[in-house]
């Protein structure tokens, strides 16, 4: 399992892996927003956390179709399907590796982009913390979509369409936790704990569904 984790990480950071493209996409999306809404710093600092969250959501959806597609193309997916360790565990490890390669850079990049958005320190910290807690959930539930669409020739767009409705709760509680941290009366912990709960919930459902879909769509 650790070997699989290391292998997936190496594959994604070396040439052709495309792990950094997600971060680039994230930065581009966030950089485009001020052109759309105008360079009003007050407005930007108010909607900043929401924009960072939406950007991170879109960026993590972008890379999802590669989760199983490359393995399917070179045939190693069949090896993963045939080995003795439970497939759910394999999928879980692949999700973790995918998150470390694509989700973690987003979390690390978010404070920098928060400065661009004129957010204060508390907001930046809260956004980074909620992204850290929330992006694994998106990866886990996205694995289900990636497993479903793995056999399709152009599954990338379909994965986003299928996964986005399921990822909405993560977005809701992530953003509400950030706003709860900035604005005084609302308590920060309840939405943050719900976010972590969602994370654990999707960590169970996502790999289970992805494993079932992979088994069914292998010929």
């Amino acid at each position: 399992m650790i070997a699989l984790l290391a292998r997936d990480l190496k594959l994604s950071v070396r040439a052709g892996g495309g792990a950094l493209i997600g971060v680039l996409f994230f930065m581009t999306v966030v950089a485009v927003i001020p052109f759309g809404v105008g360079p009003d710093l007050n407005l930007l600092s108010r909607i900043g956390p929401a924009i960072l969250w939406i950007g991170a959501l879109l960026a993590s959806l972008l890379g999802l179709d590669r989760l199983f597609q490359a393995e399917r193309e070179d045939g190693s997916l069949d090896l993963l399907l045939m080995q003795e360790t439970p497939l759910v565990l394999t999928v879980f490890v692949k999700c973790v590796a995918h998150w470390i390669a694509t989700g973690l850079p987003l979390v690390i990049a978010s404070p920098l982009l928060g400065l661009f958005m004129n957010m204060d320190e508390v907001a930046i910290g809260a956004t980074a913390l909620t992204l850290l807690a929330g992006t694994p959930a998106i990866t886990f539930i996205g694995a289900a979509g990636a497993g479903i669409a793995v056999a399709l020739p152009r599954g990338g767009l379909l994965v986003s369409i299928l996964v986005l409705p399921l990822a909405i709760p993560v977005l809701i509680f992530g953003v509400s936790a950030v706003y709860a941290a900035i604005e005084d009366p609302a308590p920060f912990l309840p939405p943050f704990l719900i976010l972590i709960a969602l994370n654990l919930f999707f960590a169970v459902i996502g790999p289970l569904a992805a494993a079932a879909a992979l088994r069914l769509s292998s010929d």
Partner: protein, 256 residues
Amino acid sequence: MSEPSLAIRNFSDLANPTRFLALVAVLWPWLAGLTLCLFAAGLYLSFTTEGDYQQGETVRIMYVHVPAAWLSMMCYTVMALSALGTLVWRHPLADVSAKAAAPIGAGFTFLALVTGSLWGKPMWGTWWVWDARLTSVFVLFLMYLGLIALNRAMDDPARAAKVSAVLILVGFVNIPIIKFSVEWWNTLHQPASVVRMGGPTIDPEFLHPLLIMAVAFTLLFFTLHILAMRNEILRRRIAVLRRHAARAAGRKKGAA
């Protein structure tokens, strides 16, 4: 060769599509007739009962909106049961049922959203608010469309059925969220007033047409559903026949 019996004794006998088609041929005129009668009664009652003292005439929108919303959830439940049937019992008609139900469910969800929005404009003063109930129903609508797209994206019906069954079961998480969204969150949409502990809080004047309309909508769903299943079975048969014909033509050309 003796003709197989078309009598249906238990549920697994329905696995034979020919038997199912025979049953549908007997059943659907009755279902359709009953649906029409109930709709006539329900619509008559809806338009002759008193208007609400606050909402006035707009209360009649409820007689369409509430049954459509119930049906949108029931249709997804039927699809989830069919998905279980596909994955667990490998019932050959289960995937037909799930595939046929998706567009109908999308239709009912759309109807619920549109009528709710028409009611919301005079009552709440806005077409749309992002409250929990409305948002979760909108997510349901998106999921129906996603499922239809997924089904259309694959050309092999057997594999498409299995894969979309997985997605249907994952998406079933949304149904309890819709049901309890008005209780978990304090939102603009009013809480449940018909099916609740301690009896309905709605006046009988409105309750009777509402219940009749609900039964009529349910029957309409089942009529449409079995007819759509029949069409899907026939469509697959035609596809198989065409494939056979093409193969036979190719063989003849090869022999000549």
